[in-house]
């Protein structure tokens, strides 16, 4: 999986228009690391193994076979359905994010290959308003499942989101119902939905499609939960247990299937796709013949 380094460097530049320095600081252990080194290690700290957040195009490029990604619905843009204004207007916030990032909203969707196997893929862009889900995110995810259903393809979503996008009010809440409804339909397809939870996956995203995967995988030490830890602390006025709402904690409580390190993710996904591959044994034995055959067999004894 490490063969695609050249491919993704270019995509990094594409995702972030602002040039970056030569060195990066691990925001977990504080170690200063050579950027190239960090990139080669898929943005996982070489010292403490902290999995840093990565942008959507980067995620896709380290997951798919090089040059196989075809993006869908890149042109869909958010609008301001409520005329929402806090300290700034919602429109203004959208424009600012779009200026710095090369995405129109918080998800990138498309199709591509993993070791030659076709998948539908979606990755969240956390830098776009905290990866929050509004109408565009809901619509793009819904279309992805619809395409997957039609083309009988597996789906994988890499979530990284604080939840619903408040600025779209009730419309953002309803995206939870919308995405959950299309998944109910998709589950007729005999194809898997693999949900990968990365740091953080909370609120309306975790309480809808992200928790509906046939298989749910998390990156190590990702924050995953319904309510944010600060809200919980304020409500119950108690200290939270160690590791609370971290991947390891969820695994222990039976809420996810696997914790997979970033360097192994592609391989695990590929193996899951193989194991989920539909078998082509033709089931043409009618109940009557089946009974007949078994009787034959017993008579021969």
């Amino acid at each position: 999986m490490l063969k695609k380094e050249t491919g993704h460097t270019e995509k990094v530049e594409k995702a972030r228009k602002v040039p970056e320095g030569l060195w990066v600081k691990c925001n977990n252990c504080g170690e200063i690391i050579y950027r190239k080194e960090m990139e080669r290690n898929l943005y996982v700290c070489l010292k403490c193994n902290h999995h840093h957040r990565i942008n959507a195009y980067n995620r896709i490029s380290i997951t798919l076979d090089e040059g196989t990604f075809r993006e869908y619905d890149a042109e869909i843009e958010p609008v301001d359905p409520l005329g929402f204004k806090d300290i700034k207007g919602y429109k203004e916030k959208i424009n600012e994010s779009q200026k710095v990032l090369s995405v129109k909203d918080a998800v990138v969707c498309g199709e591509g290959l993993i070791n030659g196997k076709k998948v539908m893929i979606c990755a969240f862009e956390f830098a776009f308003m905290g990866g929050s889900m509004g109408s565009v995110v809901g619509e793009k995810i819904t279309r992805l499942f619809e395409r997957a259903l039609k083309g009988r393809r597996p789906v994988m979503i890499f979530s990284c989101s604080g939840g619903a996008r408040m600025q779209e009010g009730i419309f953002s809440l309803m995206q939870m119902a919308k995405t959950s409804a299309v998944i109910a339909k998709f589950k007729d397809s005999e194809r898997p939905f693999i949900s990968v939870l990365t740091d953080p996956t909370t609120g309306g995203v975790s309480a809808s499609f992200a928790m509906l995967g046939d298989v749910i995988i998390a990156e190590p030490r990702a924050l995953i939960g319904f309510a944010g830890p600060r809200v919980i602390e304020q409500t119950i006025r108690q200290n939270l247990p160690d590791n609370f709402q971290k991947s390891e904690y969820l695994l222990e409580h039976g809420m996810i299937d696997l914790i997979v390190e970033r360097k192994n993710m592609r391989e695990i996904l590929s193996r899951l796709l193989d194991l989920f591959k539909p078998d082509h044994i033709k089931r043409d034995i009618e109940p009557a013949t089946y009974r007949h055959r078994t009787t034959d067999a017993s008579q021969k004894k």
Binding site: E75, V79, E168, I170, Q238
Partner: protein
């Protein structure tokens, strides 16, 4: 109302009501004829009520939606159902008192009735966890909905919660998963589903029993992706800006009807539901019966198609290629 816990904007009404009571009292004592004065004051009170209640802002509506005397699910059950047998437990972990459910008879029809339940006195408030369900509440609701599907009973849900409970146990037992599962199952459940927001529709915790063919809101109820206070704390970094947040979020019944999210607003009596439980209950009952009459004759295939289409089409965005 015996103990009238009044909101700020209700205060002038309360004063006037007290004055009227006093007047009536001296009238019955029979010393002077105060009939005309009483009539005048009654008219004044009525006009003031009308004036106040026609011009409420979203924050005032939020206060009414959370009014301590506002009828809760079991209050309505008592007033609108001929029979109700509460069913308990999720068969997995426990029974959550923040959600009640059971078989009910209304206008001669039997239905599965499920709703959030808040408590009124301090002890009951705590028992009901202030109407904030844990995962087992949602899983109990799901169990009852599956039962309704198998036994072909329509489902009516009453929504009234500040939100799903943010607690340690709730997270450990999969609050997110419980909500998500309800959303996906309800989208395809093979019986008609009617939802009424009777008080607070608090985010995912409300939606988790609110995926429905027909969604109605009481005139002074609210439905929101986040509480105005929560929104203010995050976006304004100031919880006291809730009043503005309430306005920006568009959480009132009339606004949500305009946005096409709900199908109907149920009118409340003058002074809101807590001023006349019976009147409010009558309107709720009628709205349920009318909705059942509408939905029951339609084939379930058509209902499911319409339900899917409704949610599929929610969302406003710009798509240049169309």
């Amino acid at each position: 109302m015996a103990v009238h816990q009044s909101l700020e904007f209700e205060r002038s009404l309360v004063e006037l009501e007290a004055k009227l009571l006093e007047l009536k009292h001296s009238h019955t004592k029979g010393k002077v004829d105060l009939k005309t004065d009483i009539k005048k004051l009654e008219k004044k009170l009525q006009d003031l009520k009308k004036k106040i209640y026609s011009g409420l802002d979203p924050w005032e509506i939020t206060q009414i939606a959370r009014h301590p005397n506002r009828p809760y699910t079991l209050d309505y059950v008592q007033l609108i159902c001929e029979d109700f047998i509460e069913l308990h437990g999720d068969r997995k972990y426990g029974d959550d008192p923040a959600i009640v459910g059971g078989l009910a008879s209304i206008g001669g029809r039997s239905i599965m009735l499920i709703g959030h339940q808040k408590g009124r006195a301090t002890k009951e408030k705590i028992f009901r966890n202030f109407g904030m369900p844990n995962p087992e509440g949602y899983r109990k609701a799901l169990r009852l909905m599956y039962m309704a599907e198998r036994l072909k009973k329509p489902i009516v849900t009453f929504i009234d919660t500040p939100g799903a409970f943010p607690g340690i146990g709730a997270e450990e037992r999969g609050q997110s998963e419980a909500i998500a599962e309800n959303l996906t199952v309800m989208s395809r459940l093979k019986v008609p589903i009617i939802s009424i927001i009777i008080g607070e529709g608090g985010s995912g915790g409300a939606l988790a029993i609110g995926v429905a063919d027909k969604i109605m809101m009481m005139e002074y109820s609210i439905y929101s992706v986040i509480s105005p206070e929560g929104c203010a704390a995050i976006l304004w970094k100031d919880g006291t800006k809730a009043e503005i947040a309430a306005k920006e979020l568009k959480i009132g019944a009339k606004e949500l009807l305009k946005l096409g999210i709900i199908e109907k607003v149920i009118k409340e009596p003058l002074g809101a539901a807590h001023c006349s439980l019976e009147k409010a209950a009558r309107s709720v009952k009628e709205a349920i019966l009318v909705s059942l009459d509408e939905l029951m004759p339609i084939s379930i295939e058509m209902i499911l198609e319409a339900r899917y289409k409704k949610y599929r089409e929610i969302g406003i965005f710009y798509n240049p290629s169309i």
